[in-house]
Amino acid sequence: MRIRKQWTKRVSRLYRGKMSARDEHLKMEQAFAECAGQWVAVDRKTGDVIAARNTPYELSAYIKSEGIHGVDVVRAPSEQEPEMVGFG
């Protein structure tokens, strides 16, 4: 949990700095390992994960308060979750 919070803070700071180095951002594939189970905001153009929160309510509030555009919200499922077949 501590690692997740640190990661979120780091990425938030990067975003406030105008999304500089693309390599500094997680890709969705990495998010499965680093913030599994969390709700993430994914840049629509680059696929970079730019923020993560424990709930969609927290993440949406953060996105709106920061005026972030061009991102989509989705949950990064854990590898321990059963694979969904159809609408599980």
Binding site: S60, V74, E79, F87
Partner: protein, 171 residues
Amino acid sequence: MAIPALPWRYPFQQDAPRQRPILRPIVSAQLIGAEASTPFKALVDSGSEHVLAAPWLISDAIVDLGNPKYSIRLGIGGENPLVNFVDLRIRLLHPQGDDNNFVEWETEVGFPEHWRPPWPMLLGQHGFFDQFTVSMHRAAALTVVEKWGAFDERFGIEVRESDGHTRRGPL
């Protein structure tokens, strides 16, 4: 800047790793209630009759569920949650665009009591596939959304209107 014309191409999204890579047909969407929701990734599900949305979007888009259009129980993942349907507007967002590049339409959206999928919305037959021609290809790992009449133009097949759907494109 003008909104890019259809077709729009959405790359499949990789899911959590399993015995092999799992690829999901995903598009970018937004729900419009009294306010516009935060944009999200929606699963394109041709096997679902309905458009369904996660309960957190009720407050996010400020949706009034006080007087639903109808309520039914659906079979979802071995459970039978009550689903409240209301008429709302949905935006399909351009895969490479900003939040101002969208196509918007009105349809029924159902809100189940419980929600487990990672995707905040599921786009089914009534409400999505009756708006567009949707093609998917595993090798290309793409979902392509075209105008509704593209299917007829390609295959020369009359679209049945048995469900009360009207043609939207030239035949």
